[in-house]
């Protein structure tokens, strides 16, 4: 049993392994934690769509080291991200910033949901209106019974 658990742990090792190498890590666990969080939001410019925290590319390693260097120098998280953004542009941010150029990106989904609710609601409401009918008025009743009587008379002859 113990061997099985051991084997499972060994098997899980590759999934736990990360691109961050021991020599990159900071001795201060708090700073290191912040560095990891920042790295997860920064895109690797070589292997795109991967964050620099999990990328093995050389540039990603350089950027990780730079993030840690800025943190040690006393930068806030925002300052570190801005430092890298100034050099690589919005593209390095895995989460696009909220600014006039990205309004369409951020608000389009909400707009589409609202349009959907509006159109869908409109269709359903108009359907319901068609199904509901009111009682015939006295005048209409008279007309109908008149027609029916005429029909009956016609059938009898």
């Amino acid at each position: 049993m113990r061997q099985l658990i051991f084997a499972l742990c060994i098997g899980a090792l590759p999934f736990a392994a990360n691109a961050v190498e021991p020599d990159e890590m900071l001795t201060d666990p708090l700073l290191e934690q912040r560095a990891r969080e920042i790295s997860k939001d920064l895109r690797c410019v070589v292997c795109q769509n991967q964050d620099i925290d999990s990328s093995n590319a050389g540039v990603a390693r350089d950027l990780r080291l730079l993030v840690r260097e800025r943190l040690v120098a006393g930068d806030t998280d925002t300052q570190v991200v801005e430092y890298i953004r100034a050099r690589y542009g919005d593209y390095v941010l895995l989460k696009p910033p909220l600014e006039p150029a990205t309004y369409a990106l951020w608000f389009a989904p909400i707009a589409f949901v609202l349009i959907g609710v509006f159109v869908g609601g409109g269709v359903l409401m108009s359907r319901r209106k068609q199904e509901a009918f009111e009682d015939l008025g006295a005048e209409d009743e008279n007309t109908v019974s008149e027609i029916l009587r005429q029909n009956e008379a016609g059938d009898a002859s």
Binding site: V45, V46, L66, R87, Y91, V119
Partner: protein
């Protein structure tokens, strides 16, 4: 209102079709990263020369105050496309009078010296960027990359990847000519 609703699928199809048409364009490179450096001042850097090479080092001040715009090429001996690009850049320097500066990116000095001795050295100055930090300042995503820098230190043009092949050479020549980086408007 009914007509509007009936038209919605059509409108949706047109919008999606438009996106697909845009995506099918073979000239569109989805991996292209827009550079923030264009029309911005070149980053500050000061690099030592490559040890064992007589070519002096490179700093930002070397790019400023030149008569014509100059070209900065980031290269490395371990970079295979750089080898192909080297011949193209050499031709631009020798035939067209382009001024070329180099940043030797994360390269062992002895390898760089051997590489330049084998292929020739078209660079006026070469800075050795061992740590890759200057590369980050330039927003580098890989080697080779080539920049055209104006006399006042503004980055005019960036080419990612090797300037090799008719299309790339044509694009680069156009950029050089537009920047006025070639004397007498030479270039073909």
């Amino acid at each position: 209102m009914k007509r509007l609703i009936a038209g919605l699928p059509f409108i949706a199809a047109v919008i999606f079709g438009g996106f697909f048409l845009w995506g099918l364009n073979p000239d569109r490179d989805p991996n292209e990263i827009p550079s923030v450096l264009i029309s911005q001042p070149a980053p500050a850097f000061d690099l030592d020369p490559v040890p064992g090479l007589e070519t002096p080092g490179l700093a930002r001040s070397d790019l400023v105050g030149n008569e014509r715009p100059v070209v900065v090429n980031v290269f490395a001996s371990w970079c295979v496309p750089c080898r192909a690009e080297h011949a193209v850049l050499t031709r631009f320097v020798e035939r067209d009078g382009m001024r070329l500066f180099g940043i030797n990116y994360k390269d062992k000095p002895e390898d760089a010296v051997k590489w330049l001795n084998d292929l020739g050295n078209p660079y006026e100055r070469i800075g050795s960027d061992l740590s890759g930090r200057t590369g980050i300042e330039w927003g580098l995503s890989g080697v080779p990359e080539t920049f055209i820098v104006d006399g006042d230190g503004t980055v005019l043009f960036r080419y990612v990847g090797p300037v090799v092949g008719p299309d790339a050479v044509e694009r680069f020549t156009t950029a050089l000519t537009q920047a006025g980086a070639l004397p007498n408007g030479a270039g073909s």
